[in-house]
Each structure stands twice: as structure tokens, then as C-alpha cells.
Amino acid sequence: MGYQPEQSVGMTTEGIALRSVGNTLVLHKTALIEAFNLKAATKYQLKICMSINYFHVRTQYCAKGNYDFGISQVIKSLEPYNKKLVTDTWYYAKRCFLSLLENMLKHMIMLRGCIVQECIQVLEHCEVCGKNVPAVTEQPLEEDRIHTGKSTVAYESRLLKALIYEIIAWNQ
């Protein structure tokens, strides 16, 4: 994994210190944080100013029972894929998914069926659009190189899709 600047929530932007949503929240909130990171990253990609009021977002979605909706919204912020799906945004997107999967596994959240379907769709789109997008930035002095085909967003999104299928017991 290459070095990625941590878009830690609450970082100083243009001299204004935003309040932190706090990384110490219980596990299910980490998913949200990842999602926010992602959203921020996508916005950054579009050269839109990063001054989102994270706090506002948090209060909006973090109420229990609604956060799956929040997460799906955030994931959808990858659209349009051809523009926003780049290595950096993918970095946040996959973290977001992994965190979500962990929560589902631990039965911390119960995702509604339609949300799961949406997630799968997002991953399918990523697979289609991400064939030529490297998943990690190649480090020039890295000794063992990964297979070029494997370090693509397409490959990793398939991996995530398989994980989701495993969790929802798709084959049983």
C-alpha cells in the first residue's frame, strides 16, 4: 500500500479547524468515517473545495438505523465512475467497503437487502470502469512487483464482491 495522506476528519483546512467526529467511536462508525473520507476524496478529485462540514454530515447520518442509507449515499458519490474512479478515490472506497463488511460480519449492522444489492452494483461498475485504473501507485524501488492485472481496481472490486457474496451466503 502506498503512502496515502490521511484525510483525517478534522484536519485544518484554510486555517479553520473543524471539529473531529472522533476516531474513537465504536466500530460501526468507522465505516462512516471511511465513507466520509471517500466522499472528501471524490470531491477533491473534482477540485471542489474540501470545506464540507463533516460534523453536519455526521449528525445527519449517524443516528442509528439510518446509517446504511448514509453509507450507500457516500459510496454513490463515486459516480460518475469514469471521472472519479482513480487510484486515490479507490483507496478510500475499498476501505469503506472493508469496514462495512467487518460490521456486517460482526452483526453490528444489518444492511437492508437493497443496500447490499446497491453495493454489489457499485462494485460491478467499478469492475467495468476500473480495468485500466491501478489500485495502488507503483513504488519505483519496490522489489517484488505485483501482477499488473491484479493491481487494478477491476480485480480488487471483484475480490470485494466475492467477500460480500460470502457474507450473504450467496452460494448456499
Binding site: T24, V26, L27, H28, K64, G65, K106, H107, M108, M110, R112, G113, C114, V116, K131, N132, Q139, P140, L141, E142, H147, T148, G149, K150, T152, A154, Y155, R158, L159, K161, A162, Y165, E166, I168, A169, W170, N171, Q172
Partner: protein
């Protein structure tokens, strides 16, 4: 920065900085440049930030005093604050914040605060839960339960801590939920159902947990495991009530479970309702299959058809195969496809597809015979259905299945016809069908046809290993092993995991006597098929041919550990041990073999022979009786039974008459069935003589007649054969001609060639020791001593000869001793042998009979009438000396002649071996105590027989 640098303000030497050498440019001293070395090592490709200053010309110059924000400025300074020229430099344009220096180190965590402690504890609990799950996934259920329990303990401690620090409202509910849920799960997996149910109950009852309601599903699952079906259904329904419609997948899965429980309870209509609902809401393969099964169970034809149609319409939700075929133009896409063509998702998709195909095939096979009048029509309907669905490729497989069903019903013609239809289809199916056809013909031993279809299959698909094997097989049966080997090798080249080819190749090498190569093949095969009994069997037989019995036994042992109930293998192991001379091991394995397959004649024979060898004739009887049952036309077995009765009669005197009687009856029985059997007649004559029965005459006449007939026949057949067959050897010859074939019985696809055959040479020691009669030629000579000794030795089996031997060692000078009149000899007792020292003393004499073997026999005779039981050791007539007999066998010469030699028969006698003292004087008997005259057992010995035989 240099531009704003004014010389006037500088009190320092203007040029001092230029002498200092910027280390960045010091290429000569790179090795000592820590920064550079670090950059190389860490492959950051850049110097650490410290050295990466903008390479100014005078960077290393000492800073001006007023540099910075002026804090260092002395209070008493004359200069006005903020007006130093240095200030301009200090607040210089610095957009990158480089002058700020590194960020202050993060504040160390204060570990002592209670909040921090609690957080640590939470972390630990989480870690324990994860450990527990990991242990579970590795299959270590015990450990995972331990971890789960420990997590539970820690969590309770945590809650107490929270309460103490009065932050009870911060209790981490999710953590509690995780701990309890994991614990319940681990209990359930360790089959501690009561504990698991309790724990689930705790979670479900707690209203604080959201979503806890669905854990009722888990409880229901436990009830299901306990086979408490009504309760399981109740809980599934409760769970269903608590799960909102938003979680449709979950609801569907629960309904599926309810359906399955109904099936288990045999309530098919309820199950059908459940399954039908699912199929209309969100169809899936499994439910579709279950639905078909339910309709099949209640026998509803139309519904079965409908359910099948539904099943094949279920969307699989997987990608098309062509997605994974590289388009060949774009290297990047090719690389991606290479990466994904066998990734996890692809494997899952394949699995799903295979599952779907399996369900469809199974249900088609199941319903085909039920939905139409005939199974063929049923299959046709299924094929039609499948052809219109997305599983087109299954249609051909179904057709082949139809053929196989024909085969199952032994309707070979139909099967062949069905398979022949494939001749026009595309090459892959054609090759498969032709392969099957070829094998069919091969099974029917129509090798010509088999060869033709093997060729066809090969032409249709040269890379079809099955076709190549079939071709090889048909060449093999024609005896062209070299060529067959070539075909097998080609099959192996096409598919290196083709075990059939490897196996057949091994067999071919075996046939070609290239044993080492064959061994190689089978060892390789063994590496692939670790537990194939067949391969081990081949290895055994190979090692046997290589004369390495130890290896053979080892492999056979392995084979038996895989197939412990294979009677052939057990018998084989017995035979191997027998060859090694380990009779008791051999017996053990033969006995095992007999237990699993009691009608193997070789095994029975061996066991019978073994018992006779070890002098347990009675036990041998049951085996020979069984053999007689299996082969009722073989007189041999029945003779054996009779012979066993006869023998056991002698050795166990308590059963004496009973068994003798039985022997007689058995012989009579045999005679009724095989009136021309000489041996039987001969024994009948002898038994009748021994028992003093009247039928003797009758049997003797018959015997003569039969013998005569035989003689005539033999004279016609082979003139002047002089060979004396001893019966046992003769029958052994017969076995050799019959070649005992031992085949492993398990099915091995595509292999029926070269059945391993080997001889089980059963040591056939027992048989009536009657010499056969070749044509009579005078004068009759006696048998050579060695042959007699051999015959006699086999009969007496050591016991009698030992006695004989002992007596020969004893001094014989005290012959013609008489009863001591002056009482028992008291002096030097120790030197006297026991026979003289006894109160019923006896002595030996040697009897001689030229027509008997052994010619010389020692016999005991009592010296006194009474016993030397008086107070001074004098003879007392209150007691009586009486001889002790031992049953024995001798060979007796008969007057008949065979091959110029006398014929000897076995003869059972009782020989006195000593005397003992019994109470009560003898009244009627006035004998001289000689054994030969005393009474009841006399007939065993002697002339009586002879004279009677002569009379005949």
C-alpha cells in the same frame, strides 16, 4: 531569498558562507553522507527533509541575531521592535511552512486515567472475540469456546468498572452483544445446546439490543439440530415476525428453513406452501430443487413439471463465460483477464453454476421416470425443457444420462441406440458418446465394435484421454501390449491426471514383464490416489512377482487398512504369510477373510487343512461341511467331513462312538450320492469292520465291483502307468489346473483389462491316505520305507512317534519281568524307572508285524494281577492292575496291489502305554494281562481286519 539579502545589514563576514560546502553537492563524500545513505536504503528517493533545504548559496551561515519572531531579543535592546531589517527576512514568504520545523511530538497517552484503562480493556475483549473466531475457523472448537468464555469474563469486569466509575450510561452495548453472540455461537458449535440456548435467550430478552430478534433463527437452528422440529418452526416464525420486509433475503432464507423442517417432519404440503412462496418472491436454485423433491414425494406429475420449468428459469446472476476470454488486442485488458480468470469470485461463480447444473441433472434424473409413462419420454421432456433454457449444454448430458439409465435397466440395445444418435452431433459430444459406446461394446466383449467406436471417438477429439484409453484397451485385448502402452502414454500426455491411463499403463508393463516400470506407474498412481485399494493390490502383486514378500505384505497391510472388509485381500495376506511360514498369522487372516466371505472355497479348504494340521479335526468339520454345501458335486469335501469325524472319534474317546457313528453315516450318505467312489467304499468297509457291522459284506462286494470297473477303464485309458499317486498330491494338481483367479471386486472405471491373477496354493495336507490303484502287476512289492515313513508321519503327526522314540531309548534288558512276589522293591527307588516303581508295575515288549508300519511297536503289559498296595507293598487283589491305552494310528498293508506295490491303509488302534491301579478285583477275566488279549479295544489292532478283508 538571496535577493532581499542586503550586505549592509550583515555584521558577519559576507563571504563566510561560500567556504562552507553544501553537503548536497558533495558527491565525493557520498559514502559518509548519512542522509544520502538513508535515502538509498529507504528507497524514498529523496533526502530526509532536513537536508532538503533549498540549496541556497549561504545557507549554512549563522542566522542573524534578530532572526525569527524576536523573542530572543533582549528586553533592553535599543532597536525598535519590528523594525529590524532582519524582520523582513523573518516574515519572509513561506507558503510551504518550511520554516516551522517539525510538528511537536504527539502527546503521550496517559495510561492511568480510568477512561483509558477501560478503552484498553475494550480492545482486549475485541481481540479475544476475534481470536475465538479465528480458532473456530481453524477447527479448534475447544479453544474458541475458551476464548469466548474469557471474553465474557473480561466484559463483565469491564461493565463493573464502568459502574464504579459512574459512567454506566457509557456501557458499550455493542461489545456486550458481540461477546454474548460469539459465546452462544461457540456453545452451539461445541454441541452444548442448553448453554447456547440460554445465552441466546439472554440476548433476545434484552430490549436494548437492536436486531436481536433475528437470533431466534439461531435458536431455531439449534432446535432443529436437536430434532425438535415443532419448536424449530415456532422459533423460525417468531424470527420471521421480528424481521422487517426490508431484509427480504433474510426472510426468504428463514422461509426456506421452515420448508426444510416441514420436509423433515414429512408435512410435504406445508413445505410446498413455503417453497412456492419463495419461488414466487425470489426464486433460487435450492428451493426449486426442494420443491421438485416435495412434489415427487407426493407424486404430483404436473406440479413436478412446473417446478422443473421454474427451476431451470432461476436466474443465476453470474457473468457469461466469454467475459473471461481475452480479446487479444489490448494488453492491459488481457492482463486483467489473466488476473481474474480464476479469482475468488470466478470460483464462486463456477461453484454456483456447477451446483445449479447438479440440481437440474439430479431432478431431471429423479422426475424423468415419474412424469411420463416411460422414463424415456420423461427424459425427452426434460431435454426439451433444458434446450429452451440457458442450460443448453446440459441437454446432451441428459441424453447420455438417458443412455446410462437404459444401461442400468440392462437394456443395452436402447442404450447403444441412444448413444449412436450422437454420431451426427458436434465433436465434443460425439467423442463422449463414442467413448461410452466403445466401452459398452468392450464390456460386451465385442472388441471389433469397441475398436471401431474408439477410433471414432479418437477422430472426433484426438485429445480425449478416455477415447485414447478405450483404444488402448481394445489393442490390449488383442495382445499388442506395446501399442496399447503407446496409447495410454498419449492419454497421459493429454491429461496428466488421467489415473485410468496410468493404471492401464502399469498393467501393460506388467504384461510385458517390465516389472520395474510397472512398479513405477503404480507408485505414481498411489501418490495421486492415496486410498485406492486397487492400486495397492497391484503393488502387492508386483512386489510378489519381484519376490519381495515383505514389501508385498506391507502393501497388503495398507490395502487392508483401506478396505478392511475385503475377503480376497485378507485371504491373499493369509497366503503370503503362509508362504513365509507364519502359520498363525496366516490363520488369523484367513479366518478374517472367512468371516467376511464364508463361501470362498480356497479359504475354507485352507482353514480345514489348518485345523487338521493342528489336530483339531472337529473344528475342521464345519469348514468342510460348508465346502460340501458350496460344491455338492465334489465328493472330496464330503469325504473330508467323514474323515474328520473318523479321526476326532479316535482322539477324543468321550465322543468316540458318537463320532464314529457319524463318520459311518456320512460315508453312507456319500455312497448314496456317489455310488462309484472307491475311497468312500473302502472306508465304509473298514468302518463297518471296525464296528462289527453286518453291512461289511455288501460294501466289500460293491468295492470290488467298482474297483474292477475302474481298472478296466484305466487299462483302456492309459496302459501301464506306474505312478503311485498319493491322493493329496493328486488333488493339488487339480487346483493348479483350475488356476484360482483372484480379482479385486471393486469397480474401476474404464478398466477391465488384465485382471490380476495368482495362485493361492493351499497346502493340502489332508486327504485320505489311500493309495490309488493302477493296474495290478505281480509280484507285489512293498512300498519303500521312506514313503511309508512319510505317510505314517503325516498321519501320526508327531504324537505317537514321540512315544515310540522314548521307548526305544529305554533299556530293554528287563524283558519278561514278572510280578514281584516279595512286595514293592523299596531299595534304591530312585534308580528304578517309574514302570517298575509303580504299584501297578508294567513292562514293555516289542510286537512285530510285517504287514504293519511301523513294524516294531512297543506295548506295555501289566506285571501283576492286583496292585502292590498291601501294607508292605505286597500284591493285593482288592485292586487290579489295568493297562492304559492310547489311541494311535498305524498303516496296515492290504492284500491288494497297486502299481506293483502293496496298498496301505490307515488303521486306528489303541496301544497300551502303561498300567494303572483301579479298585475292585476282576471277576470274569482270567487273562495273563497281556494287552493283546485284553478285551474291548482289541479289534483295533490286528488280524481281524486282515482276515476279513481277505475273505472279501
Amino acid at each position: 531569498m538571496e535577493h532581499v539579502h542586503l550586505a549592509a545589514e550583515d555584521e558577519d563576514d559576507l563571504y563566510s558562507g561560500y567556504n562552507d560546502y553544501n553537503p548536497t553537492f558533495d558527491t565525493e563524500d557520498l559514502e559518509n553522507d548519512v542522509g544520502f545513505q538513508q535515502a538509498v536504503k529507504t528507497s524514498h528517493g529523496r533526502r530526509p527533509p532536513m537536508t532538503a533545504k533549498i540549496p541556497g548559496t549561504a545557507v549554512a551561515r549563522p542566522m542573524g541575531t534578530a532572526f525569527g519572531d524576536g523573542v530572543a531579543r533582549p528586553m533592553t535592546a535599543v532597536l525598535a521592535a519590528g523594525y529590524s531589517s532582519a524582520v523582513i527576512r523573518g516574515s519572509a514568504f513561506d507558503p510551504l511552512g518550511q520554516s516551522k520545523g517539525p510538528a511537536p511530538p504527539l502527546e503521550a497517552k496517559n495510561e492511568d486515567t480510568p477512561e483509558e484503562k477501560i478503552k484498553q480493556l475494550e480492545k482486549k475483549v475485541n481481540q479475544l472475540i476475534e481470536d475465538s473466531c479465528m480458532a473456530h475457523s481453524h477447527g479448534d472448537l475447544q479453544l474458541s469456546l475458551e476464548k469466548a468464555k474469557e471474553a465474557g469474563r473480561k466484559e463483565r469486569f469491564l461493565v463493573r468498572q464502568r459502574e464504579q466509575t459512574a459512567s454506566a450510561d457509557h456501557i458499550n452495548l455493542d461489545l456486550t452483544y458481540s461477546v454474548l453472540f460469539n459465546l452462544a455461537n461457540q456453545y452451539a458449535d461445541n454441541e452444548m445446546f442448553a448453554e447456547a440456548l440460554n445465552t441466546y435467550q439472554v440476548i433476545v430478552k434484552n430490549k436494548m439490543f437492536s436486531n436481536a430478534g433475528r437470533l431466534k433463527v439461531n435458536m431455531a437452528n439449534i432446535y432443529f439440530k436437536q430434532r425438535n422440529f415443532p419448536k424449530a418452526i415456532k422459533f423460525y416464525r417468531m424470527a420471521l415476525d421480528q424481521i422487517s420486509n426490508a431484509h427480504r433475503d433474510m426472510r426468504i432464507k428463514i422461509m426456506q428453513n421452515i420448508g426444510v423442517v416441514f420436509v423433515k417432519m414429512g408435512q410435504y404440503s406445508d413445505a410446498i406452501t413455503s417453497f412456492e412462496h419463495i419461488m414466487s418472491e425470489s426464486p433460487n436454485i435450492k428451493t426449486g430443487f426442494n420443491l421438485i423433491l416435495c412434489y415427487f414425494a407426493i407424486g404430483d406429475r404436473d406440479k413436478m413439471k412446473k417446478a422443473f420449468q421454474k427451476l431451470i428459469c432461476v436466474p443465476l446472476g453470474i457473468d457469461e463465460d466469454d467475459k473471461y476470454i481475452p480479446p487479444n488486442d489490448d494488453p492491459q485488458t488481457n492482463l486483467v483477464i489473466e488476473a481474474i480468470k480464476n479469482d475468488q469470485l470466478r470460483q464462486m461463480e463456477r461453484e454456483r453454476k456447477a451446483l445449479a447444473e447438479k440440481y437440474i441433472m439430479t431432478s431431471a434424473k429423479l422426475i424423468a421416470p415419474a412424469i411420463e409413462t416411460s422414463f424415456a419420454a420423461g427424459f425427452d421432456w426434460c431435454v426439451e425443457m433444458v434446450k429452451t433454457s440457458m442450460y443448453v449444454e446440459l441437454a446432451n448430458d441428459l441424453e447420455i444420462n438417458k443412455a446410462i439409465t437404459y444401461l442400468r435397466q440392462k437394456d443395452f440395445n436402447q442404450a447403444v441406440e441412444t448413444l449412436k444418435m450422437f454420431e451426427k452431433k458436434d465433436s465434443r459430444v460425439k467423442s463422449a458418446a463414442a467413448t461410452n459406446l466403445s466401452f459398452l461394446y468392450f464390456l460386451e466383449k465385442e472388441y471389433g465394435q469397441a475398436d471401431r467406436y474408439a477410433d471414432l471417438a479418437m477422430n472426433a477429439d484426438r485429445y480425449n484421454p478416455a477415447a485414447l484409453i478405450n483404444k488402448g484397451n481394445s489393442v490390449f485385448v488383442n495382445g499388442d501390449y506395446e501399442k496399447a502402452g503407446e496409447f495410454y502414454k498419449e492419454a497421459l500426455r493429454n491429461d496428466s491426471s488421467c489415473t485410468e491411463a496410468l493404471y492401464n499403463l502399469g498393467l501393460t508393463y506388467k504384461k510385458l514383464k517390465r516389472l520395474e516400470e510397472a512398479l513405477d506407474c503404480f507408485l505414481k498412481l498411489h501418490a495421486i490416489l492415496r486410498n485406492s485399494a486397487q492400486v495397492m493390490f497391484q503393488l502387492t502383486s508386483l512386489y510378489e512377482s519381484l519376490e519381495d514378500p515383505n514389501q508385498a505384505i506391507e502393501w497388503l497391510m495398507q490395502l487392508i487398512s483401506v478396505a478392511p472388509t475385503d475377503p480376497q485381500a485378507l485371504a491373499k495376506l493369509g497366503a503370503l504369510y503362509d508362504n513365509e511360514g507364519d502359520k498363525s498369522q496366516a490363520f488369523q487372516y484367513y479366518y478374517e477373510s472367512f468371516r467376511y466371505f464364508p463361501s470362498n472355497i480356497e479359504v475354507i479348504e485352507w482353514l480345514g487343512a489348518y485345523y487338521i494340521d493342528t489336530q483339531f479335526c472337529e473344528k475342521a468339520i464345519q469348514y468342510f461341511e460348508r465346502a460340501a454345501l458350496i460344491q455338492p458335486t465334489q465328493v472330496k469335501w464330503q469325504l473330508m467331513v467323514a474323515s474328520c469325524y473318523r479321526r476326532s472319534g479316535h482322539y477324543l474317546s468321550s465322543n468316540f462312538t458318537g463320532n464314529y457313528q457319524k463318520a459311518l453315516e456320512t460315508y453312507k450318505d456319500i455312497h448314496r450320492k456317489f455310488p462309484e467312489n472307491v475311497e468312500c467304499l473302502r472306508f465304509l468297509v473298514r468302518l463297518c469292520t471296525d464296528m462289527g457291522l453286518k453291512e461289511v459284506q455288501e460294501y466289500a462286494t460293491k468295492l470290488k465291483k467298482v474297483e474292477k470297473m475302474k481298472e478296466i477303464r484305466e487299462q483302456i485309458g492309459q496302459q501301464g502307468s506306474r505312478i503311485v499317486y498319493i491322493d493329496g498330491q493328486h488333488s493339488e494338481g487339480v487346483y493348479k489346473n483350475r488356476d484360482v483367479l483372484s480379482t479385486s471386486r471393486k469397480k474401476f472405471p474404464a478398466i477391465l483389462t488384465a485382471v490380476a491373477a495368482f495362485f493361492v496354493l493351499v497346502s493340502n495336507s489332508e486327504c485320505a491316505k489311500v493309495v490309488k490303484r493302477p493296474p495290478r502287476i505281480r509280484p507285489c512289492l512293498d512300498l519303500p520305507e521312506e514313503i511309508l515313513e512319510q505317510m505314517f508321519g503325516r498321519l501320526s503327526a508327531g504324537m505317537f512317534s514321540a512315544f515310540h522314540h522314548t521307548l526305544q531309548l529305554a533299556p530293554l534288558e528287563k524283558e519278561n519281568l514278572t510280578c514281584p512276589t516279595n512286595g514293592r522293591p523299596t531299595s534304591d527307588k530312585s534308580r528304578l524307572p517309574v514302570n517298575i516303581h509303580s504299584i501297578s508295575p508294567w513292562a514293555y515288549r516289542i510286537s512285530y508285524d510285517a504287514t504293519r508300519y511301523p513294524k516294531y511297536l512297543p506295548e506295555a503289559y501289566c506285571l501283576c494281577k492286583g496292585c502292590l498296595a498291601g501294607p508292605f507293598g505286597e500284591e493285593s487283589l482288592q485292586f487290579r492292575s489295568t493297562p492304559v491305552y492310547m489311541p494311535s494310528v498305524i498303516l496296515r498293508r492290504t492284500p491288494s496291489c497297486g502299481g506293483g506295490r502293496y496298498i496301505y491303509t490307515e488303521n486306528y488302534i489303541s496301544i497300551a502305554v502303561g498300567c494303572t491301579c483301579v479298585t475292585g478285583p476282576e471277576k470274569e477275566r482270567e487273562s495273563n494281562n497281556s494287552v493283546l488279549d485284553t478285551g474291548e479295544l482289541k479289534r483295533g489292532i490286528d488280524k481281524g481286519d486282515e482276515s476279513q478283508l481277505k475273505e472279501n
